[in-house]
């Protein structure tokens, strides 16, 4: 119910402190998972959150990654901090980091690392969730940066692993609303025709930049 969401946001905005928050407030808000307090501090809080992230243990880092995800504010500091954990074997932390990265950054290095995880990570779960992040969480990309994402996804349609082809096609479908007739388990010739259709579409996309 969006109007109530708006009201909640207004209420949160009214909580904006008149003075800088006292030391410890941010940590308390993170510990209490109180996003409204963190939001009220505004985007300038991101470097401090990134420092807390860097200093935290895995449990705290996972909690902070979720905070970054929910805030959705761009921050180079947050991206750098999160990137250090983008290959962690800790399942919960890894998934939270993969989801949060696109919400804090429009850097194509994030797209690259997620594409790499999607295609090459040893665990199917991590490949799968990297694709999920590419589908839903790259909210800051410009059209030009999206070309980079689409190129990677179209390339992955030729991956020898069927699950990679499946999730790449799904990301493209979610991003564009189209599938160009690609079936991940279809015969190679049919897949090649669909991939060619995607390439032509990408050329058209690029020509519009």
């Amino acid at each position: 119910m969006k109007s109530l969401r708006t009201l909640a946001f207004v209420a949160a905005a009214l909580l904006v402190p008149q003075f800088a928050p006292a030391a410890g407030t941010l940590e308390d808000a993170v510990a209490a998972d109180d996003l409204s307090v963190i939001k009220a501090m505004g985007p300038s809080v991101m470097p401090r959150l990134a420092r807390l992230y860097a200093a935290g243990d895995e449990e705290r880092r996972q909690r902070l990654a979720t905070v970054f995800y929910r805030l959705g504010w761009k921050s180079d500091e947050a991206r750098s901090a999160l990137m250090k954990d983008v290959h962690t074997p800790n399942q919960g932390l890894r998934l939270s980091v993969q989801y949060a990265l696109g919400r804090v950054s429009d850097d194509v290095s994030v797209v690259d690392v997620l594409l790499d995880n999607m295609q090459n990570d040893g665990q199917l779960l991590f490949r799968d969730k990297a694709a999920c992040a590419l589908a839903y969480d790259q909210v800051h990309l410009t059209p030009a940066q999206k070309v980079h994402l689409f190129e990677g996804l179209i390339r992955a349609l030729d991956d020898p692993k069927p699950d990679v082809r499946r999730i790449s096609a799904l990301v493209l479908q979610i991003q564009t609303g189209q599938d160009k007739g690609f079936r991940f388990a279809g015969p190679p010739e049919a897949r090649a025709r669909a991939v060619e259709a995607w390439r032509q579409w990408l050329a058209e996309y690029r020509s519009q930049l």
Partner: protein
């Protein structure tokens, strides 16, 4: 009903199309069928009444931004709507309008807009029941301003159009061919004879034929939250080439009272078979041995969570302890079956449920769900056979009674279904009681339904559950035309669950029926917002 659009505005739209076609090569300029032009909605924003609601429009105001009537700039008449947003406020401002769903024919959208800040992003969209996402029944037409230019998203590609100038009115006309999924677009700039954009047969936003439309949106920047836009909208008209009947409004902003709309929705939900919840790990065929690893529980939680990312929930062999793999996969398969069942794909659901039962034969929820899918497929004999086969596993569990009652209903045995549910409700199960209540309500037994709801409201401890039963009792009173009693029950429900939208909106209904128009408006606008300046 909001707004008169002057005939001049409509004439201008027609003239813009004529001019655009005249500029095209003859082969491309073949005229479309003259539109019968049933007006679906029309807003000039000049009338006294610009009531928000589910059949007119809703207003979402971002913090520090706004959506409101203004006389500062207007294309015609004396008022337009101003939409303002500020970057980084974590929200966006939007005017979102609704019209009867169109699944065929030509849909014409006409509107005027003026932006004070051409370099800031704004977005206009025409979308369908899947709302603002690319794909079938999602966004059909999408126009933006980005970096000082008009941009339209066609074939999933943002395509640049003409530059936008500040403080100049633009009149936009879209002729969307629903069946083919293509549109013509003209944009006329104030003071210029020729249109600045005149395009024919553009693929829709996601190149989807037969993609329905039923909503329009004027919004700032819903994704990145970086827009400081202020813009103005006037003369919004949506028409169709088809001869369709548009029912009149029965109350401000709505063609149907909220009580009736929610009742219809609940009836649809009741008619739609859906999985009953698994209440224990044993239901899923998982015992302590399989769930000793906390990672398995987390994985199950993930699988059973909301379906918004359901496509992605694929348990992997690498990440799952071997002892739990079959159980986890069965749960995932069951979840996919549940999603399919809710989407009306009962045959696929049945396959998934049977597959899950094969993987984890001790999971009793799978066989019960399969019976539900068979009922949805109309294969009642088979459903009965399955239920008989598993009756011993379920004893007097109310979920079994609910499925049995659904089977009785499917066979036209309403009384039998009600009796089954009544017995289960008497044993103290709230879900069975809720279905029994619905069954009484659909049967017109409102007094009994109201008494049942009032009794359950008293015996229920939790605020949310109590509010739900009070609301049901209010619904029954409303059907009995005991409006004051309905108001009291809804108010009591509202105190228990102050943010529950359905209760707030039903309070708007009772206020309307009682002639208290101030309260009606106050309640309705809590949900749909208002165009009045704050």
């Amino acid at each position: 009903m909001a707004g008169r659009v002057p005939l001049a505005a409509l004439a201008l739209g027609a003239a813009a199309f004529a001019a655009a076609r005249a500029a095209l090569p003859v082969a491309l300029a073949a005229p479309r069928e003259p539109p019968a032009a049933t007006v679906l909605v029309r807003y000039g924003f000049d009338d006294e009444t610009v009531a928000t609601g589910p059949d007119t429009f809703a207003v979402f105001r971002a913090a520090h931004g706004g959506v409101a009537l203004t006389s500062t700039f207007r294309k015609s008449g004396y008022r337009a709507v101003e939409i303002r947003d500020v970057a980084g406020n974590g929200d966006f401002s939007e005017l979102q309008g609704y019209f009867p769903e169109q699944r065929a024919g030509l849909v014409f959208a006409h509107f005027a807009l003026l932006t004070a800040r051409p370099e800031e992003e704004l977005n206009v969209a025409l979308a369908g029941p899947r709302r603002f996402q690319l794909g079938k029944d999602g966004i059909a037409f999408w126009l933006s301003t980005r970096d000082g230019r008009f941009v339209h998203v066609s074939d999933s590609i943002p395509k640049k159009l003409a530059p936008v100038r500040g403080f100049v009115w633009y009149v936009v006309d879209v002729a969307y061919d629903v069946d083919r999924g293509v549109y013509d677009l003209t944009i006329q700039e104030e003071g210029r004879a020729e249109p600045i954009v005149a395009l024919r047969d553009q693929p829709g936003a996601a190149r989807q034929p037969a993609s329905a439309v039923d909503v329009f949106s004027f919004i700032s920047d819903p994704m990145e939250d970086v827009s400081d836009v202020t813009y103005f909208v006037d003369d919004v008209v949506i028409t169709t080439s088809r001869d369709v009947t548009v029912p009149p409004l029965v109350a401000p902003g709505r063609r149907k009272l909220f009580v009736d709309a929610f009742a219809e929705y609940r009836r649809m939900q009741d008619a739609q078979p859906r999985c009953l919840p698994a209440t224990s790990l044993e239901d899923l065929g998982m015992g302590p041995h399989e769930t000793a690893d906390p990672g398995v529980l987390a994985m199950l939680e993930d699988i059973l969570a909301s379906a918004t990312r359901a496509e992605w929930r694929e348990p992997s062999k690498d990440a799952t302890p071997p002892v739990a793999l079959a159980g986890v996969r069965a749960a995932a398969q069951w979840r996919r079956g549940c999603v399919a069942l809710e989407e009306g794909r009962a045959a696929i659901a049945l396959e998934q449920f049977d597959g899950a039962a094969g993987l984890a034969p001790r999971g009793r929820i799978y066989a019960l769900s399969a019976a539900l899918a068979l009922i949805a497929l109309g294969r009642n004999e088979e459903a009965e056979g399955r239920l008989e086969a598993i009756a011993g596993d379920w004893s007097d569990d109310p979920r079994f009674a609910i499925v049995s009652a659904r089977l009785a209903d499917a066979r036209g045995d309403v009384a039998g279904g009600q009796e089954t549910l009544r017995a289960a409700a008497q044993r103290g199960d709230g879900r069975a009681a809720a279905r029994y209540y619905s069954s009484l309500l659909w049967d017109g037994r409102w007094r009994e339904a109201g008494e049942l709801a009032a009794a359950w409201a008293r015996r229920t401890a939790g605020a949310a559950e109590s509010a739900a039963w009070l609301e049901r009792a209010g619904d029954a009173a409303f059907h009995l035309r005991e409006i004051a009693a309905a108001r009291d029950l809804y108010e009591e429900a509202g105190r228990a669950a102050p943010e529950e939208a359905s209760i707030v909106l039903k309070l708007a209904d009772v206020a309307f029926v009682l002639g208290d128009l101030d309260s009606e408006r106050r309640y309705r606008e809590r949900y749909y917002g208002t165009l009045d300046p704050p």
